[in-house]
């Protein structure tokens, strides 16, 4: 049976006929080989238009369909659905964009018309080479693995468990709660009652839908959205728990404090009573803020931004917790002198300003300082700094450093295992830092909390809830997944097994079959980006719907 191609030009209201002579276009297209019909219609994406198109496909017995209209981003899916309803394989359809790419960009009607004809000819010549592709379905597990039992991980687990999902919560240390559970007080109300966080942890531990693995690490993860195989290992060499299968992974590995600072500059480890913020939190949690000799400090320096320059980013929460420390110190009797050494204050939340103003009222001294050096002098701590061009110094009895937040140790190992990228700072990289901040670039993997960079507790909780929402909307109970259809395929007889494609695949969709000596595409993971096609030195890889032949024919017509 020879091909019967139907070409339909959509007017898109006045958008297209104002700039393109559609009758002229139809005149040029109609006599082309295999074109059975070439017609125009007011608005093909309307309900009437879709019905018209479906009727045409059936009555004209079309084998291929070309729609010249708007951008495929607007309505490709719409017309593919029409094809499906009319009994035509939706991949035997090609959309030609004559609105954005012709009508809207050429000032001369004749030029726009000429280009529209070219593009439609290109579409016709490629559509005859299209293969009828099939949409596959993949069974998916709705269960979820959460890596990291800090506040973000616990919140994720609770949100998902609340929707009857089985959650595997893996925590490296032997307690849930992470850094949030180690704090002495919580802002903004200076509450010392940590019950709220403890309650969350207890809920997570007692929830029958959550399996908590404390003292465990992920040994290996393989698979893809809907089907990840996970194995754990227990620290201390005890036998590992069983393997399990999940549909999605949430990376909530949190952060660590930077500890590579220079002891000659910060005095840390060399001078008594120079402590880090987390050490201060521990003192605060125990209710005893004391110097090494057991007496309360009469003056304290809070030093911001330790490592901001070296790391190249602001850790977001240090200004605020340093203010929290200041208040706490001022609460004790007798209240010590408190100096805040800062370079820029970062107080973005709506309640932050009050905390700052209140601190000023209580006599906390804010010193804008550069080149801070902590020196030991006669049992006291001398903070030397530069204020503009003046060299200044203050003597105190205790100094609290606010080191930068850095990626949790082993982030790179987890990243390699999951095949997801880290950014320049070493934190996990989001699919898009603004528009998709809780997704990793690979389907089925999500990031919540400080794993993707410094965050406050409320931000981490928001991210945990967002990641849960994403998972709930992707992995629906009892539903299968529809993977990308236009995937890459490898001609095994041409593949030399050089494995260049493995290096360029962003999604980790290609693996090497050592027995046959060829690369293999996992169609469930492949997103059809075409990187491997371009990189293959042997030309063994092609992309369905973007074969060399299809592209060649299409480009040739467009350039004719």
């Amino acid at each position: 049976m020879s091909a019967r191609i139907g070409v339909y030009v959509c007017e898109c209201g006045p958008n297209i006929p104002d700039r393109i002579d559609i009758d002229r276009v139809l005149e040029e297209i109609s006599p082309l080989k295999d074109v059975a019909v070439a017609k125009r219609y007011r608005l093909l994406c309307s309900n009437d238009g879709k019905k018209y198109l479906a009727d045409e496909i059936r009555s004209e017995k079309l084998t291929h369909l070309v729609v010249a209209a708007c951008s495929p981003r607007d309505h490709e899916k719409t017309f593919m659905k029409v094809c499906l309803e009319a009994g035509l394989n939706p991949f035997l359809f090609q959309m030609v964009n004559i609105r954005e790419q012709c009508a809207w960009i050429f000032s001369e009607k004749s030029e726009a018309t000429r280009m529209a004809v070219k593009y439609i000819r290109a579409g016709i010549s490629r559509v005859t080479l299209h293969e009828p592709l099939l949409q596959k379905e993949i069974k998916a597990t709705p269960d979820v693995l959460v890596v990291g039992g800090g506040i973000a991980g616990v919140e994720t687990a609770l949100s998902l468990a609340g929707q009857k999902r089985r959650v595997y919560l893996v925590e490296r240390s032997d307690a849930l709660g992470g850094t949030a559970a180690r704090l002495g007080r919580l802002l903004p109300h200076q509450g010392t009652d940590m019950r709220l966080i403890q309650e969350k942890i207890e809920h997570a531990e007692n929830n029958e839908n959550i399996s908590v693995f404390k003292g465990c690490e992920v040994e290996d993860i393989r698979g893809f959205l809907g089907n990840f195989e996970v194995s754990l290992k227990r620290s201390g060499g005890e036998p590992p728990p069983e393997m399990f299968r999940v549909g999605a992974v949430v990376v909530a590995t949190g952060f660590a404090l930077w500890d590579a600072f220079d002891p000659d500059v910060t005095g840390y480890g060399k001078i008594d009573d120079v402590v880090t913020s987390l050490e201060f939190e521990a003192m605060s949690a125990s209710g005893k803020i004391l110097k090494k000799n057991g007496s309360p400090p009469r003056s304290v320096a809070l030093i911001h931004c330790v490592g901001r320059k070296e790391k190249g980013y602001c850790s977001k929460v240090c200004c605020l917790y340093s203010l929290k420390f200041a208040h706490q110190l001022k609460d004790s009797q007798p209240a010590p002198d408190v100096f805040e050494f800062y370079s820029d204050l970062c107080l973005p939340e709506k309640t932050d300003q009050d905390v700052f103003e209140e601190a000023k009222k209580r006599g906390v001294r804010f010193l804008r300082a550069d080149d801070i050096r902590v020196e030991g002098r006669n049992g006291k701590i001398r903070i030397a700094y530069r204020d503009g061009s003046a060299e200044e110094a203050v003597e105190v009895e205790m100094a609290v450093l606010a080191p930068a937040m850095v990626p949790a140790p082993d982030s790179d190992r987890l990243a390699r295992m999951l095949n997801i990228p880290l950014d320049e700072t070493g934190f996990f990289k989001e699919a898009h830092s603004m528009l998709d901040p809780v997704s990793a670039p690979i389907s089925g993997i999500y990031i919540a909390g400080c794993a993707s960079g410094p965050k406050s507790i409320p931000e981490s909780v928001v991210q945990a809830q967002a990641a849960s929402g994403k998972i709930l909307s992707v992995l629906m109970l009892g539903k299968t997944l529809e993977p990308e259809v236009k995937v890459s395929t490898i001609k095994e007889e041409l593949c030399t097994g050089c494995q260049t494609c493995l290096n360029v695949c962003f999604y980790g969709a290609i693996s090497f079959d050592a027995f046959r000596g060829v690369s293999v595409v996992n169609e469930a993971i492949c997103r059809g980006c075409g990187s491997c096609v371009g990189s293959c030195p042997s030309g063994a890889i092609s992309s369905k719907q973007f074969t060399y032949q299809q592209l060649f024919k299409e480009v040739m017509e467009a350039l004719r």
Binding site: T496, C498, Q499, G517, S538
Partner: protein
């Protein structure tokens, strides 16, 4: 141009090497060494060129019995099959469970290293041994008159690159000794992590012509030498300075030849003239060690269009040559493999119409490989530019604005 990565430096030149006296000539000494290696080096087999009985030719042979080695020589008068290719056919389909040594010319070993990066050779269980190479004769001349060829090759082996018989690729060769030596500093010991492409190198150019030097380049090379009972106690400084002098001379000669050639080939017209005699036999591709595709695109029908397309093109140009686009094959091949080109000259040897293919390719290789901070076959650990994507790569070309002032000045300086 800003190299996209730092080259780590030269091949390690060990300060001391084992010495093997050669009272009956270096060829015999090399054979003796190979036998010792076979018997005491803990190796299962040797891959080495062996004389084909009753012919003037050598073939690559995997030797299991040491008496066969009497007829073996890693420096046959011509290079008929490139050693990299031979090793690929032996090891491509999986790591050999045998522990073997492959003894070859430096350019052949460089091809093997490139092929290893392309997973066409497995070096896991292979000891790579190279030898100071006096060059080879043009294949066609040798085939036409083998007797004369063998006579000439005696001169070649004695005169060390100062004779007129060498094939063009060898006459221009500046990497005929331990690979990496030509790029490295001339003084000071090699760093421990210096890249190495081979395990053992056989030095023939020592001051003492009465013996050969056996240089343990890598720890595994050293271990094998140790097993053979040869003590590495002879300083290599004399050999090294002699080699460096010769390499320097040859490098200047090579650069001068390339500069001269640039005049002959620059511009599309001249370029076409150089490739005009091409008969589309694709011999250059078939013998090239680093052309490793199962099937070349240019050997398929996909490249040909329908006659109406050709008619269109003929209409535009006035006339069209057939088969069309002969140059496309050479340019396509070049864009695929020139970053891995080891300048072995196999392509040139195989060209029946004497196109200087090797000259074109090694010239382009000399210009392009440094742009990627790459040197084909020098360092096993240095990833292929094709497989190594860096964010800052060539940013001075792609996004000059994002590149920053510092780098753009650098470009100017180097330009």
């Amino acid at each position: 141009m800003t190299p996209h990565q730092e080259r780590t430096g030269p091949g390690a030149v060990p300060a001391q090497a084992a010495f093997l006296p050669a009272p009956e000539g270096t060829k015999k000494a090399v054979t003796d060494f190979l036998k010792t290696l076979m018997d005491q080096g803990g190796l299962d087999a040797l891959l080495v060129p062996v004389e084909v009985p009753d012919t003037p030719f050598h073939a690559w042979v995997m030797v299991k019995k040491s008496e066969v080695l009497d007829k073996a020589h890693p420096l046959p008068p011509v290079m008929s099959v490139q050693g990299g290719r031979a090793l690929s056919s032996l090891t491509k389909h999986g790591t050999p469970w045998l522990h073997i040594a492959a003894v070859m010319r430096p350019c052949e070993a460089r091809a093997a290293v490139e092929l290893a990066k392309l997973k066409q050779v497995r070096l896991d269980n292979v000891v790579l041994i190279t030898i100071d190479c006096p060059g080879a004769l043009p294949l066609a001349e040798y085939v036409a008159d083998p007797e004369k060829g063998q006579e000439r090759y005696k001169t070649v082996a004695d005169t060390w690159h100062e004779n007129e018989f060498l094939r063009p690729a060898c006459a221009r060769c500046h990497r005929f000794s331990l690979t990496g030596l030509e790029d490295g500093p001339s003084e000071g010991p090699a760093p421990d992590d210096a890249p190495a492409s081979v395990d053992i190198h056989i030095g023939l150019l020592g001051e003492d012509q009465n013996g050969i030097l056996l240089l343990p380049v890598t720890p595994s090379g050293a271990e094998i030498l140790k097993k053979t009972g040869l003590e590495a106690d002879r300083p290599t400084a004399g050999w090294e300075s002699r080699v460096r002098d010769l390499l320097k001379k040859k490098k200047e000669k090579r650069q001068a030849a390339h500069e001269e050639f640039r005049k002959d080939i620059t511009g599309l017209d001249r370029f076409l003239t150089v490739f005009d005699p091409c008969i589309n036999c694709h011999n250059c591709m078939n013998v090239c060690p680093v052309c490793y595709c199962q099937q070349c695109y240019f050997d398929t029908q996909t490249q040909f269009c329908t006659s109406s397309v050709y008619m269109d093109r003929a209409r535009k140009r006035g006339a069209l040559r057939f088969p069309p686009d002969p140059l496309l094959f050479h340019l396509g091949r070049m864009s695929h493999m020139v970053l891995s080109c080891v300048s072995c000259g196999a392509c040139e040897d195989a060209c029946p119409v004497s196109i200087p293919v090797g000259k074109v390719f090694s010239w382009v290789a000399d210009e392009t490989q440094p742009a990627f901070g790459y040197s084909a076959g020098t360092d096993r650990g240095d990833p292929l530019p094709l497989q190594n994507f860096l964010k800052e790569e060539f940013c001075e070309i792609e996004t000059p604005s994002a590149c920053g002032q510092a780098q753009s000045t650098e470009v100017k300086e180097n330009a």
